[in-house]
Amino acid sequence: MTNLQQLRKGSTPLLILSILNEGPQHGYGIMRAMEQRSEGYFSMTAALLYPALHQMELDGLVSAEWQNTIGNRRKKIYSITPKGKEYLMKDNLEWHRFFDYLFGIIDQQGIKRAQ
């Protein structure tokens, strides 16, 4: 796994929680929203998304509820929990700090090289 892939994997809960923070969604809806908002940059397979969702449910970051729909089908709808909101807020700050410092260093190096 490349460093960038690791970074992406680490950001999965933050991405999912950000989408669920705007309202409950099922797995397919989360996948589409993620794709649309990132213009296709963050595309995730079902094999990655569902284990992540189930793990987050076990950790209490999201809750899930089965909802009946037309045609005797059921959808598993995920919602962000208060614990998830708290996590989202903290993680959001951490990522911002991480990138601020990262780009702070990268940009300074770039400036030096240019000089």
């Binding site: 099922h26 797995g27 397919y28 809806g29 996948m31 589409r32 595309s43 397979t45 079902a46 094999a47 990655l48 569902y50 284990p51 189930h54 793990q55 076990l58 209490g60 509820e65 089965w66 005797n72 089908r73 059921r74 959808k75 598993k76």
Partner: protein
């Protein structure tokens, strides 16, 4: 890969999961595929795009298995050990706490203290069961102990005549407050049990909770009959034993093992039958002189038998997976 093949391959990778867990995972993934197929924005080449987007079923199965490592033996211990030894532990506690009495449950203090200690112990087990549910998705222990706790409180209120103004417990403000408190606890637990069962929507859990309810109904009916002067020679249950172990104790160890460890739904139903049958059978023999008591004691066995039959005939478990 065809949708059915994908789901079938995924199913084969979920070997460590129970039928219900498998069914829910497969239903969620089947629903994802269905959503993609009906989504107009998905594009014309949607089958190819869908295959790529789903990822490998082996990968998905492995990842899910790595998340869920249900420690089913913990749930088994939580049910079996306290169920087998609770009365002895409580008797020992009472005997240690108060001046020794060879029959601690025979004196007034013992009766009141014993049943309250039982409720506290059941509450602890129900909380441990809830932790198992939250961490491991194992709900049997929580339902078993919360149901048992509700019944113990109900039996206590019934025997103490909490809902009658003439009860000795309702002669003071504190006593009345106590009666209101226990009634609210009963309503609260019942509401919670209903919510959990409604969320699970699994008939086996409904039956699991229903069995002790009807067993208690039988016990209370016998108790009432004794109060009315029935069973002139006393009420005695037969002592059926297998190699020094009581049938009831053996059944307790066996049903939990069948229900918790097996991945086969029919074995679960058989486990529920093993859970439901011993006490009613013993009581059917002892209360044979009163047909209505026999009818009441038949209910737990009939509930399991009819639910099993209904699911086998009307709703085979396979239909739960691809509905």
């Amino acid at each position: 890969m065809k949708d059915e093949d994908y789901l079938e391959q995924l199913r084969s990778k979920l070997s460590g999961f129970s039928d219900v867990e498998k069914s829910e995972i497969l239903e969620e993934i089947a629903n994802h595929i269905h959503e993609a197929q009906i989504d107009p924005k998905f594009g014309e080449d949607n089958q190819e795009k869908l295959s790529a987007e789903m990822g490998s079923p082996d990968d998905l199965g492995k990842r899910l298995s790595s998340i869920y490592h249900p420690k089913r033996w913990l749930e088994y211990i939580l049910i079996v050990i306290p169920a087998l030894f609770l009365s002895q532990i409580l008797s020992a506690l009472i005997a240690l706490t108060f001046p020794y009495n060879s029959a601690p449950t025979a004196d007034t203090l013992g009766v009141y203290l014993g049943i309250r200690l039982t409720i506290i112990a059941q509450l602890v087990f129900a909380i441990l069961g809830f932790k198992l549910y939250k961490q491991q998705r194992l709900i049997t222990g929580h339902l078993f102990w919360l149901g048992s706790m509700w019944l113990t409180i109900f039996s206590m209120c019934f025997r103490e005549k909490r809902w009658f103004p003439s009860s000795q417990f309702n002669q003071s403000i504190i006593g009345i407050a106590g009666s209101i408190f226990w009634s609210l606890v009963l309503v609260g637990i019942l509401a919670w049990l209903t919510k959990v069962l409604w969320t699970l929507k699994d008939p086996q859990y409904f039956v699991l909770v229903a069995i002790p309810f009807f067993t208690t109904l039988g016990n209370l009916s016998i108790f009432q009959k004794i109060l009315e002067g029935g069973f002139a020679n006393g009420y005695h249950l037969p002592t059926w034993q297998v190699a020094r172990f009581g049938l009831h104790q053996l059944a307790c160890a066996l049903w939990a093992a069948m229900f918790i460890f097996s991945k086969n739904r029919s074995v679960h139903w058989l486990g529920l039958l093993v859970y439901a049958a011993p006490l009613p059978l013993m009581n059917l023999v002892s209360s044979s002189q009163y047909p209505y008591l026999m009818a009441i004691w038949s209910i737990p066995i009939l509930i399991v038998a009819f639910s099993w039959l209904y699911e086998t005939i009307a709703k085979p478990s396979e239909t739960r997976i691809y509905r």
